[in-house]
């Protein structure tokens, strides 16, 4: 089911959690809401679920006004960061809960409920835990049960709030891939909230980057990584080198010295130059836009990570670059650096 969010405003006291947010989610999408804590991503998710109410704005699920209905009438599956399983019920009863509380007129008979719960437990590959209690399960297992429970009501949309946030790194990685393949299997429109960029880029079809209650960029994982729309996105996603520069016409200056790179249409005035660590080409001294002395080198895997103190800044500006290991860099060596790809954004005051 498609979701449409229009002009949503939500404040907590004087804090604007959501500032006029618009978002369209297409049917069958797996969308990530990515942002730092306090960016409003969880609030947006809870408003779509009916667990919070906006001060103003509209939410439509499948073209239907959702704000006229409470959470229990929206048929929206919600998965909580800390699972929120019913600890006095077995795994089986947890999953069956949504079916057992349906209005009598549409409630299925016991045999149908049992068959459906069995199917869901098979789907999350935990049918052998049916008679355990939640406290007897590991975190990863609990979250899969929470997901099965949410799917039991045949939700029109599935919302996941930091679903892997409470799990350790290894389990997290497994569950990410598992969620991805599960979505391929059942195709329910899903939105998940995360502050982990790797998780968002790896799992989602589309990523919505949020900051301070606003959407900064919406795009495919490739787009938000390669073509960040704002300084915030560039800084938040992937590792970036950020240098304060001045733009005058098409010239870019760092500490008053011109860098021979075009301004790419950036407005004149104070600005910030963003370069990915691996987009900085290393060459012999005197051949690139920047120059510096290597202070420290660590080699691991296919790359070597070097700290370079830029010349002309009295060694105060130190940047970290990732270079391929075709030529080993030496500490103390003077090298030139040429940004292969970069973005310039006006500095925010």
């Amino acid at each position: 089911m498609a979701i449409e969010v229009k002009n949503i405003v939500k404040t907590f006291g004087s804090f604007a959690a959501l500032d006029n947010v618009d978002l369209k989610v297409a049917d069958g999408e797996l969308l990530a809401l990515l942002g730092p804590s306090g960016s409003g991503k969880t609030t947006l998710l809870r408003i779509i679920a009916g667990l919070d109410w906006p001060d103003s704005g509209e939410v439509a699920i499948d073209g239907e006004n959702a704000l006229s209905r409470g959470a229990s009438e929206r048929q929206v599956g919600f998965v909580f960061q800390h699972y929120a399983l019913f600890r006095h019920m077995t795994v089986f009863e947890n999953v069956a809960f949504g079916l057992r509380v349906q209005p009598r007129a549409i409630r299925k008979d016991e045999a149908t409920i049992r068959a459906r719960v069995k199917n869901l437990l098979d789907l999350v590959q935990l049918d052998w835990l049916a008679n355990r209690y939640p406290s007897q399960l590991s975190g990863g297992q609990r979250q899969r049960i929470a997901l099965a429970r949410a799917l039991a009501i045949e939700p029109r949309i599935l919302l996941l709030d930091e679903p892997f946030g409470a799990l350790d790194a290894k389990v997290r990685k497994e569950l990410r891939q598992w969620l991805r393949s599960l979505h391929n299997e059942i195709h329910v429109t899903s939105i998940f909230v995360t502050h982990d960029q790797e998780e968002a880029l790896e799992v989602a079809n589309r990523v919505v980057v949020m900051d301070k209650g606003k959407i900064e960029q919406i795009g495919s994982p490739g787009e938000v990584y390669d073509n960040p729309a704002t300084a915030f996105v560039h800084g938040f996603i992937g590792e970036s080198i950020v240098l304060p520069v001045d733009v005058a016409g098409d010239a870019v200056r760092l500490d008053g010295r011109p860098l021979n790179i075009p301004a790419l249409g950036a407005a004149s005035g104070a600005a910030k130059l963003f370069v990915r660590r691996h987009d900085m080409a290393v060459g012999p001294a005197g051949t690139g836009a920047l120059e510096g002395a290597i202070r420290h080198v660590r080699s691991f895997g296919p790359i070597q990570r070097a700290e370079v103190a830029l010349s002309g800044s009295e060694g105060k500006t130190v940047i970290e670059i990732d270079a391929p290991r075709d030529r080993e860099l030496q500490v103390g060596e003077i090298v030139s650096l040429q940004p292969r790809r970069y973005r310039i954004f006006a500095a925010q005051e």
Partner: protein, 278 residues
């Protein structure tokens, strides 16, 4: 060459604390109880049976246990409602109400008895309007019942309160998102999570009501067979120097109380096993 390593517990002092525990429990609880049982051996089995099956004793026991049970049931329901209001809502005077709950704990029971008697006496603030409907509270079993409710209520509130505070609000949100209405959420999700605490609160209120003496004797009227509680009968026997009679009744109360508490304990463990603490 190897040297023996002395095993040291990370929690030293087991011997000392265990010794103190056993000594203390013996002196304070077990020895007095043993003396109670020994005293009854002054009676022959027939005499003992005669005392405990006499009409007055049976009626007193029935009044004590029956009314205590009823009062504990009322406290269970009302205590849960009070806990709910105190924990879930923010309203002016909440802290004051919260403090009021403790008054029956702190008030000397005789004071409570006198106050309740004044209130429910035929000319009292509540007694007078009730009398118009022909309901007599003071000096009747209803009076005992009310005194027992009064002294039992904080036990339910104070045992259930921390558990409800700890109950994650996300549980209710999860229930709502699964389509549960308020009724389902309360009766299938919240109350079942509170069962062990509710049972404990019930047991404490029940036990307290069985043992209550001070507040009850003022309001009860103490008519044999009608409004005479077992603890009072024991005191009466003592004042008549019929010590063996008194201890016989006491032993029956002790055994009955023990059985009830044991039963509730088992129930609690059964409920606890279903809701393991993580």
């Amino acid at each position: 060459m190897s040297t023996a390593v002395a095993r040291r517990s990370t929690l030293p002092g087991f011997g000392l604390t265990m010794g103190l525990t056993l000594t203390w429990l013996s002196v304070i609880i077990l020895i007095p109880l043993a003396a109670l049982f020994l005293k009854t051996f002054e009676l022959s089995l027939d005499q003992f049976w005669g005392i405990i099956t006499s009409r007055r004793t049976l009626n007193a026991l029935k009044i004590s246990f029956g009314l205590s049970f009823a009062a504990a049931c009322v406290n269970l329901v009302m205590g849960t409602v009070i806990v709910w209001a105190l924990v879930r809502y923010r309203f002016p005077g909440r802290r004051l109400f919260d403090a009021i709950v403790d008054i029956p704990f702190a008030l000397p029971t005789a004071v409570a008895g006198v106050a309740l008697t004044q209130l429910f006496a035929q000319k009292g603030w509540l007694g007078a309007p009730l009398a118009e409907f022909g309901i007599k509270v003071a000096f009747t079993p209803i009076g005992i019942f009310i005194a027992m409710i009064f002294i039992g209520i904080p036990f339910v509130v104070r045992t259930v309160q921390p558990v409800l505070i700890d109950l994650d609000p996300e549980i209710e949100e999860a229930a709502a998102s699964l389509g549960a209405n308020r009724w389902h959420t309360v009766f299938r999700v919240i109350l079942p999570s509170l069962i062990p605490a509710l049972l404990t609160g019930f047991a404490l209120a029940f036990a307290r009501a069985i043992g209550e003496y001070g507040s009850v004797i003022f309001i009860a009227g103490n008519l044999p067979n009608v409004s005479e509680i077992a603890p009072l009968l024991i005191v009466i026997r003592l004042s008549e120097f019929r010590y063996a009679d008194a201890t016989a009744i006491a032993v029956v109360m002790l055994v009955a109380s023990f059985l009830i508490i044991f039963l509730i304990n088992r129930l609690q463990r059964w409920a606890q096993a279903r809701i393991p603490v993580h």
